[in-house]
């Protein structure tokens, strides 16, 4: 890495009210001297620095491409038909093209988090200064920023230290994106390696964003007992003016909350949010409320609840502005990434903007000053609430019945519905006065609105569904433990050994978006199942919300029933999308704190450790976005398998191991240098499951690692077999691949399993000190 020790940075203030510039000189890297750990082999790794490691993984987990389009239309030579691996005019083949799109998605995802981090850090530095300390967990966290330490080899201690980290990630994304240019790269495995690289720098970007906001905004600092906050449409007091924030960057929400507090309005106004801004708002302010996952956007706005809608960045419906206008709710766009075509009023006096919004002279504005957003949003909400009286666009029941009579039963809605929901049947029943079939669709509908776009007679089908399910919507009152941030060092110390030896059967990270095949309840069910089995369940993002949206017989939600500690049986919400970095961080810290492996710029060794020893698996059951792709890619490079739901097959490539190919499953025994067969553990690196049952069995299976002790393996096998028997109705056929010695066999199933092993001509093997890296062999065999 070509870095000079002297750097000059000139920061311009964002507003042109202040014309001065903030000139700062930093000489040398002062922090570096304080970190005694020796520098590892790959500080600030270039695009190819970890290519060998990637290729090792890709050799085991070969890409299976499922093209989502047969053509390429990226340049004017095209369109090119790549059917059956034909080459395009530039010479690229189908495998190359698909992997190129994967890289592109990962670049988009990484750029999004990194851009988000950059905006946050710039803003927070402006507000709190470059020397503001990065405290993410007080004395409980000595190893803060584990991802950054691992990847970059630096130990950021202040907000200002994050800048060079972001410089690095931005450079990498530029290089990676450039590789997608026609004729720049063409080998599919090299594209895949680059996608891994994008995932890794994405993880750094996410970590930067989250530790910056945790430190500066004093969000819960690795707190297992982070407060329980409200979630669900039913928790929002619609008697009050309601401000709705949608997106991922909490800065404007903080502007609103600060303004409310400063003006003593916090008990008079409801601040609620959708998607990750909501997560982060509740981390900042206990009284903020989470409406629900991304798929609640249309239903909440059309129900007329919000009096003003504030948009920041990422995962916001593009038509939110139109929808908000229909319910007479003004819109404030607050991010330069998402200007919504609105006039920039950043420099106007707040009261003028308020007047224009309340009078309807302008239905929306762009304000790129979070404090001003706070003032304007609050004043608008207060003034407009009595005028608009929660005006909604949901139809009345009679109207639904009447309009449904016009339905032509043409199936266009159903054929547009990504869930293939039986809409025409439900509309037919509605036309006869029976709305139950429409109500049944409420839980399954992901709120995309495609059905309405398709309907030739313009029925507001999604609104029909929401109205029919209105009772359910109003009963959505849940508790979620707000995002706790990082995992404490002491928690890692406590669970490090049982995880690595397999006695805690696994860490399941339930993360990602809400493009679920059959509603969010499946997510809650999976979380509870694995917490009951004493796995550690970690959640984030929309999935963390879905995990909350269920109650037991006594009306308690999972976050009330399960501990928030990172321990067996916990359901641990780390926070928003950018908090995903803490999940990777926990795995990294196991290698560092528990196993005492060097962290600093030592990516390959730590990834090898995690891949062969830490039984962690990610489940992104409703993954839809490019960010989800890059988040997954970050875990792939660490060797952590990721499962997605059936819609995830549209990511167009899987990374699949072949359990039937014995030669793929050898590792080196670091003690002897000998090659040892360890079975397909873990079998896949990226794979789309078809049903929740399949996913559950696979989660248990993918938690097995070559390093498991016999006791640990027996526990993991027990869960795998038990789930397989319950959900698949039979014994798994591949047990012999996971039994290494007789002591691995769960005692209660001994006779049954021994019989199977005999039939399969099973041979005993040894439990190695596993590694994929020859350089880690301590004693080389001649």
């Amino acid at each position: 890495m070509n870095r000079k020790n002297v750097r000059v940075k000139i920061d311009e203030l964002k507003t042109d009210v202040g014309l001065f510039k903030n000139l700062e000189l930093s000489i040398g890297k002062v922090t570096e001297e304080k970190w005694a750990e020796p520098m590892g082999p790959t500080p600030f790794p270039s695009v190819t620095a970890l290519r060998n490691w990637d290729m090792k993984l890709l050799q085991r987990y070969k890409p299976f491409y499922m093209p989502f389009c047969d053509l390429c239309c990226l340049c004017t030579y095209g369109k090119c038909d790549l059917t059956g691996n034909k080459r395009g005019a530039c010479g690229i083949d189908m495998a190359g093209q698909q992997s190129r799109i994967v890289l592109l998605a990962c670049c988009i995802g990484a750029a999004t988090h990194i851009g988000h981090a950059r905006h946050l850090v710039e803003y927070l530095i402006e507000k709190y200064g470059r020397n503001y300390p990065l405290d993410v967990g007080g004395l409980n966290i000595q190893v803060e920023a584990p991802v950054t330490r691992l990847v970059c080899g630096v130990k950021p201690e202040t907000l200002g230290d994050l800048e060079e980290v972001l410089d690095y990630t931005e450079t990498q994304v530029t290089h990676l994106l450039s590789a997608t240019h026609t004729g720049q790269e063409g080998n599919n495995l090299d594209f895949e390696s680059k996608a891994f690289h994008a995932g890794m720098v994405d993880q750094v970007g996410m970590e930067v964003a989250d530790i910056a906001q945790i430190a500066a905004y004093n969000l819960p600092k690795a707190d297992p007992e982070a407060p329980l906050v409200d979630l669900g449409c039913g928790t929002i007091n619609v008697e009050k003016p309601v401000i709705l924030c949608i997106g991922h960057n909490v800065v404007p929400s903080v502007g609103i909350i600060d303004y409310l507090k400063a003006n003593g309005l916090d008990s008079e106004i409801e601040v609620c949010g959708l998607c990750c801004s909501a997560h982060d708002a509740t981390r900042y302010y206990k009284r903020a409320k989470i409406v629900g996952p991304i798929s609640w956007q249309l239903r909440f706005i059309r129900s007329g609840f919000p009096d003003v809608v504030v948009l920041d960045e990422q995962c916001i419906r593009i038509d939110t502005y139109d929808e908000a206008q229909k319910v007479k709710a003004p819109v404030i766009a607050a991010s330069e990434k998402n200007c919504v075509g609105l006039p920039n009023r950043t420099n106007d006096p707040p009261d003028e903007i308020v007047k224009d919004l309340v009078s309807g002279k302008t239905p929306g504005v762009l304000i790129l000053d979070p404090e001003k957003v706070g003032e304007v949003a609050t004043k608008v909400a207060v003034q407009i609430a009595p005028l608009r009286k929660k005006f909604k666009t949901l139809p009345e029941i009679d109207e639904i019945i009447q309009k449904s009579k016009g339905c032509r039963q043409c199936d266009d809605c159903r054929r547009a519905c990504p869930q293939d929901l039986h809409i025409p049947e439900a509309i037919k029943a509605a036309s006869q006065g029976d709305l139950t079939k429409l109500a049944d669709l409420y839980e399954l509908c992901i709120g995309c609105g495609r059905c309405e776009e398709a309907c030739p007679i313009d029925l507001m089908i999604h609104s029909f569904i929401v109205k029919a399910g209105e009772k359910q919507l109003k009963q959505e009152t849940y508790k979620i433990r707000c995002g706790r941030g990082a995992i404490q060092d002491v928690e890692i110390r406590n669970v490090g050994s049982p995880i690595v030896f397999g006695e805690i059967p696994g860490v399941v990270a339930v993360v990602g978006c809400a493009n679920y095949p059959k509603g969010g309840e499946e997510v809650a069910e999976i979380c509870k199942e694995f917490a009951n089995r004493r796995f550690i369940v970690v959640t984030s993002g929309c999935a963390a919300m879905s995990a909350a949206m269920t109650k037991d017989d006594e009306g308690k939600t999972p976050y009330e029933l399960y501990t928030g500690e990172f321990t067996a049986g916990g359901i641990v919400n780390v926070g928003s999308c950018v908090s995903n970095a803490h999940i990777a961080g926990a795995a990294i810290k196991i290698a560092n704190i528990f196993a005492k492996r060097n962290l600093r710029a030592n990516y390959e060794e730590i990834a090898d450790y995690i891949h062969t020893r830490v039984g962690a698996v990610g489940l992104a059951w409703g993954a839809y976005s490019q960010k989800a792709a890059s988040i997954a890619a970050g875990f792939w490079r660490l060797g952590v398998p990721v499962i997605v739901g059936p819609h995830g097959s549209k990511y167009r490539r899987m990374l699949l191991g072949r359990a039937d190919k014995e030669e793929d499953w050898y590792v080196l025994d670091a003690r002897t240098g000998e090659k040892v067969y360890v079975g397909p553990a873990p079998e896949h690196l990226f794979y789309a499951a078809e049903t929740k049952e399949e996913a559950m069995v696979m989660i248990a299976k993918l938690c097995m690692r070559p390093n498991d002790t016999t006791k640990g393996r027996a526990i993991k096998l027990t869960h795998y077999i038990d789930l397989h028997k319950r959900l698949f109705g039979t014994m798994p056929e591949d047990i012999h691949l996971f039994v290494r010695t007789v002591a691995d066999i769960p005692v209660t199933m001994k006779d049954e399993i021994i019989k199977i092993l005999e039939k399969k001509k099973w041979k005993e093997t040894v439990i190695p000190d596993p590694t994929l890296l020859p350089r880690l062999v301590r004693k080389r065999k001649e």
Binding site: P67, D420, E693, G729
Partner: protein, 180 residues
């Protein structure tokens, strides 16, 4: 040659699209002609109800009559076992499909790669992406979908068909299977 529209409107592939199976007995003939067919059955096989029977019941009949090995995807093995039918194998849909692209794979019985894969009962979009993978990367494999929705990436597919006619089609296929 008859043409057809993909069931999900936007799932438009590219220049090479599945031939339309206009008559069910043609499908039976193709299955009879295959040397090594395999039948891949997804999770919707228990969701689809024809009134008298479920899709899975027809599939079992079909597999028995045509002596075609079944791979149950997702958690379907349980449903087969409940019906006293043991599928030849069970594995995730992406796994069996991945194996079908490998010319070296020896099949579930160790006797070699398959030449015809019949798909039925996967979620439409998942079957769509999987059949795409096979169209592009399994050049020696023919694929037929027994679903009632047009799957453009298959080699052969029924057009979008009403559920009632679908049951009829399946009956015709079953009747015409076997007997060289």
């Amino acid at each position: 040659m008859a043409t057809a529209e993909p069931w999900q409107t936007a799932e438009v592939p590219g220049p090479k699209k599945a031939f339309v199976i206009a008559k069910a007995d043609v499908a039976a003939k193709m299955i009879n002609k295959a040397k090594r067919p395999v039948l891949i059955v997804g999770s919707k096989a228990v969701e689809i109800d024809f009134g008298d029977k479920k899709l899975i019941d027809y599939i079992i009949e079909l597999a028995k009559k045509g002596k075609i090995p079944v791979v149950a995807t997702a958690h379907m093995v349980n449903e087969f076992l409940k019906r006293d039918y043991k599928p030849k194998g069970w594995m995730p849909a992406v796994d069996i499909s991945n194996r079908l692209t490998d010319p070296e794979w020896k099949g579930l019985d160790g006797k070699g790669q398959y030449d015809l894969a019949l798909f039925v009962g996967l979620p439409y979009y998942m079957e769509w992406t999987i059949l795409s993978g096979l169209k592009h990367f399994a050049p020696n494999l023919k694929t037929i979908t027994l679903d009632n929705t047009y799957q453009p990436h298959a080699s052969w597919s029924f057009p979008n068909t009403k559920v009632k006619d679908w049951a009829e089609n399946l009956k015709v296929i079953i009747d015409n299977l076997g007997g060289e």
